[in-house]
């Protein structure tokens, strides 16, 4: 009974601290096994997508046709064109083969290859989500460090309270409020920032173009940062709190180091690791935020494409964007696992 229990405990406890020196081969092996797991997850996404999208109530062809009037002959023709008259198992292999060849089908609504449509939209999303993430992470880590180091101070209480509020705010509502206040303007105060699209209709050339895009990016970016950065702040704060009571911090102080040196050189680097992992782990959350933000501010990115696919609904487009987003998130998560292990020697022996 007892031995059974011990066997089930995480391997971290089984392998003592001095058991085995971490080797480069160990890390490589770990990375390979993680990559294997990720491939399995991606395979599950493809299989899952196939079955979920065939769960559609009713006739898929009618669903695709969206109530347009079609004769039975036209429906049959369409069914044959989409390969829906074949047995399910044939359809399945066809789907898997096409997906692996990156052939995501043709959008029913826009009559264009889904992959091309996705390709056009990736740039704006990377720009918006990337900028937002960088700002959110730096701001969250900076403020979390300050709050955690002066635990219980007014700054700490204010930061924690503010992040709890931001955590509870629905992204889209914050976006609407910012749009109303800074985009449209309230009463006598005029709106100062553009809130539709990525560029003005009469977009200027050269350097002025960057300014134009930048000003269009302020509001969407602000919304994304506001809802995302709170969690980084809270995690940074609590992991710094855990480090503050460690012996090595006391030693560093006893050596006579100045307070901010203890913080910068000793406590923060250790507290940073869980936060960095979280950044990658919660990338799915950022993606969800991006869908909402892009929809509100009509930012021509992947999230808005996904939203368009849902509201039409255009199932081929929906399926393609869904698979792409999910696979991207899985890849990011796997990278986080591997990088974390390379950064933190403490988990390497585990």
């Amino acid at each position: 009974m007892t031995s059974q229990l011990e066997a089930a405990e995480p391997a971290a406890q089984a392998a003592g601290p001095g058991d085995e020196r971490p080797t480069r081969r160990g890390t490589l092996q770990y990375a390979l096994s993680k990559a294997g797991g990720a491939l399995f997850s991606i395979a599950m996404v493809i299989v899952g997508t196939f079955f979920v999208f065939r769960l559609l109530p009713g006739d898929p062809v009618r669903n695709l046709a969206q109530g347009r009037n079609m004769t039975p002959e036209q429906l049959d023709l369409e069914r044959h064109r989409l390969g829906l008259d074949k047995p399910l198992i044939d359809q399945f292999f066809q789907f898997v083969g096409d997906t692996l060849r990156l052939d995501l089908g043709t959008s029913y609504e826009y009559k264009r290859p889904v992959l091309d449509m996705i390709g056009e939209r990736i740039g704006p999303t990377l720009l918006l989500a990337g900028t937002g993430l960088v700002i959110a992470v730096s701001l969250g880590i900076w403020q979390g460090t300050r709050a955690g180091w002066r635990h219980g101070s007014r700054f700490d209480r204010f930061s924690t309270g503010a992040s709890l509020v931001l955590w509870s705010v629905p992204t889209f509502w914050l976006g609407l409020l910012l749009m109303m206040v800074f985009g449209v303007g309230i009463g006598p105060i005029p709106g100062v920032l553009p809130f539709r699209g990525i560029e003005s209709v009469d977009a200027p050339d050269g350097f002025a173009y960057f300014i134009d895009v930048g000003s269009h990016m302020v509001l969407p970016c602000l919304t994304l940062v506001a809802v995302v950065y709170a969690q980084y702040l809270l995690v940074m704060r609590s992991s710094l709190l855990e480090e503050v009571s460690q012996d090595y911090v006391t030693v560093a102080r006893a050596k006579g180091l100045r307070d901010d040196e203890v913080r910068r050189r000793h406590a923060v680097p250790n507290a940073l690791l869980p936060t960095v992992t979280l950044v990658f782990m919660r990338i799915g959350f950022v993606v969800g935020g991006a869908v909402t933000v892009e929809t509100i501010f009509t930012w021509p990115g992947l999230g808005q494409l996904f939203y368009e696919a849902i509201s039409v609904p255009d199932f081929t487009l929906m399926q393609g964007t869904f698979m792409l987003i999910t696979v991207a998130v899985i890849v990011m998560n796997t990278l986080a696992d591997v990088v974390y292990r390379m950064l933190d020697p403490r988990v390497r022996s585990a």
């Binding site: 509020v165 509870s168 629905p170 749009m179």
Partner: protein
């Protein structure tokens, strides 16, 4: 015997209450939460579905807040106050139901994965990790779009995408409970899987479940409003679909700030209340956090 058990339970409860009372934010959240639930429950006594009807809008269109209409009116002259009140029923109902579904799935998977060892546990954790990685909002949107946006499918979509974190928490707790000697004693007395999981493990993880359910309701309400805002929900009045209306009708450009502010504030206040109560419960009930404090 039973009186001893009852007395012990009473003692535990009063100790819990004494602990909980020291968390002022939690108590405030609890009061707000109770008020919101009571208001939602008694709503049918005073108003009915007709407050959401576009043809029965009594007021002027886009009327600013005044004494008669404290929160103003929308694009068809419906009272924002009454719609928020009526909408609280949908938002809270879906929030509670989705949280319940998510917690039930999470608990069953977590206890099963913690109690049974070997391939079953490994398989369940593999599935849990897979669901954990999926971007939940995007997945819920796909499910809601495919299955149609009825109340039932929205609850399903939220529940199915949010259970993995509960499953992990409960599995860890199950492992630590089953390591205790009295489980071994119980096994020696001939207790089966069902007896151990339902009579020993479940009561031990129940307090934690209470805390995570409360937090789960908060995120389910936000998820519901986001799905409704993005048009994945059918047109039942909820806070999210009101905000959708404000966006579609261009309330921002109309200067109708009340149409945007009020439903969102309703979401914020209720979600904050759930979060505060959940955090206070967690601080009181989670032994790991208590030790740290």
């Amino acid at each position: 015997m039973t009186s001893v058990a009852a007395a012990r339970r009473r003692l535990a409860l009063s100790r819990f209450w004494a602990d909980f009372r020291t968390h002022r934010a939690g108590v405030i959240g609890m009061v707000v939460l109770l008020a919101a639930v009571v208001l939602a429950l008694v709503a049918p006594v005073f108003i009915d579905e007709s407050v959401t009807s576009v043809v029965k809008g009594t007021g002027e269109r886009w009327a600013a807040p005044s004494l008669g209409e404290p929160f103003g009116t929308d694009e068809s002259g419906r009272s924002i106050l009454l719609m928020v009140w009526w909408g609280s029923r949908t938002s809270l109902f879906i929030g509670f139901l989705a949280a319940l579904l998510s917690i039930v799935i999470g608990t069953v998977v977590g206890i099963t994965a913690g109690h049974f060892r070997g391939w079953l546990s490994a398989l369940l954790m593999r599935v849990t990790d897979w669901f954990l990685v999926l971007p939940s909002l995007v997945t819920a949107l796909v499910l809601a779009a495919i299955l149609g946006g009825t109340t039932f499918t929205i609850v399903m979509a939220i529940g199915v995408t949010t259970w993995p974190s509960t499953a992990r928490l409960i599995r860890a707790q199950t492992l630590s409970v089953e390591a205790r000697p009295y489980i071994e004693r119980s096994k020696a007395l001939g207790a089966g899987h069902w007896h151990i999981t339902t009579r020993h493990v479940l009561p031990n993880v129940a307090p934690l479940l209470l805390a995570s359910t409360t937090l789960e309701v908060a995120s389910a309400i936000v998820a519901e409003s986001t799905l409704a805002f993005l048009g994945a929900s059918s047109n039942r009045t909820s806070w999210g679909s009101m905000l959708r209306g404000s966006y579609d009708w261009g309330a921002a450009t109309q200067g109708a700030w009340w149409y945007i502010l009020i439903p969102g504030l309703a979401i914020l206040v209720v979600v904050m209340a759930f979060t505060l109560v959940g955090r206070a419960l967690e601080a009181v009930l989670n032994p790991r956090l208590r030790r740290a404090a």
